[in-house]
Symmetry: C2
Subunit: 237 residues, 2 copies
């Protein structure tokens, strides 16, 4: 019986895990919406929407605390063995990253507020908008990989991070040029730089989620490795 | 026997916990050194030291992976009950924040590299140096509070974060003025802004560590609360 308990996921445990996974996905969905609305507030100058995003962060935080508590209760009550335990601790790490993406959405919303009473640039923050779309796709794909515990999709997300990083670097270079050409734009451009940085950080967190998925499915801790190295580890080369 | 096992920390468990705590402190000490050296590289323009900090990050990451693995093994083998389990999960969260402080030290070292071949400003990055000293003290105090599992010291660290934040805001305003007064400084000042942001983030992570200490000692999840609210929760008001 003890061996059975430790080697197999009991039905009850499986049900609880399913429950937690749904909650993580709900939390992820909320953060995805926060990022989407923060970017919309930034691009359109909608101060009301920016304030809404800032106010909504409390809900993200509450979900974080709740899921965290549930995970620890599951560990305490079910005393899961190695691989099941990995599932739960992997989820604990996943929500930490999702929560921090929520914080970055709030940072973008704050910049949107700053920018809402300044002139809109001709291009209407087109570069930021495009980076935002890219990062949101990464976040969406990471949540999707989590929903299906799909290692290949998680790997694809980790790959995507390099593209986001180089898009971010190129935006930074462009923003530096704007400032040098027209110093009156400095204050506005600095807010755009912070927003770009927040988007890049959301990409990093999405990549972290992808790494947690690989850990909880494969039992391999691939954090701090290059994407190439992760690929080798997953494929057992 | 089962009740005894779950209600009391066994000697073996206690020894393992002591061991893990020492490792966390060693990891924290290394990150403290990384922050100190990154700041020294920035202020003195020492490119060699900056490269050393960047190279050392691998050691921080290895400690992160190792302690993480040990914590999960302890949970799997000892199956600790609620309050003991809280200790271990609290430590898991603590090392996540310490590791991310290490990442910020690397970001500062990268800026130090960028700045090492540019002219030094007259004040030799005095403001950044002073913020760095402040943040390092916060980090040191957080590790000290962790070493003694001291809730009062943890509370003091959480309080300190507000001062670091306002010092950071004032540096940002000053840096914006520099750029507007002399647009030739823009590129250098932007690197200083990123460094200031990294220092401010290290302060945030030190505050997170303080919150984890309160959680693992008191069993109260005080994340996402204001310092005033944390104080009320801890004092049971």
């Amino acid at each position: 019986m003890a061996t059975n308990q430790s080697q197999h996921i009991s039905q009850q445990f499986e049900k609880e895990l399913q429950d937690i996974r749904s909650r993580v996905l709900a939390m992820g969905g909320l953060v995805e919406q926060q990022v989407t609305q923060a970017m919309e507030a930034l691009v359109t100058g909608d101060a009301e929407l920016a304030r809404q995003v800032i106010g909504n962060d409390d809900n993200v935080n509450k979900m974080d605390v709740l899921i965290d508590e549930e995970c620890i209760q599951i560990i305490a009550l079910r005393q899961p063995a190695a691989s099941d335990l990995r599932l739960v601790t992997g989820i604990l790490k996943t929500i930490t990253d999702i929560e921090r993406m929520g914080d970055e959405a709030v940072r973008i919303a704050r910049m949107a507020l700053n920018l809402s009473d300044k002139d809109r640039p001709k291009k209407n923050y087109r570069e930021l908008h495009s980076l935002g779309v890219h990062v949101r796709k990464m976040l969406h794909d990471a949540l999707d990989a989590f929903a299906r515990f799909d290692v290949d999709s998680a790997l694809a997300v980790a790959h995507e991070d390099a593209d986001v990083d180089s898009e971010y670097e190129s935006i930074l270079r462009q923003l530096m040029t704007y400032m040098m050409e027209d110093p009156r734009m400095i204050s506005r451009v600095v807010d755009m730089m912070w927003s770009a940085r927040s988007l890049e950080r959301i990409g990093d967190h999405a990549r972290n989620v992808a790494e947690h998925i690989i850990y909880l499915v494969e039992g391999k801790d691939v954090r701090h490795l290059s994407v190439e190295k992760i690929e080798q580890v997953v494929k057992g080369e």
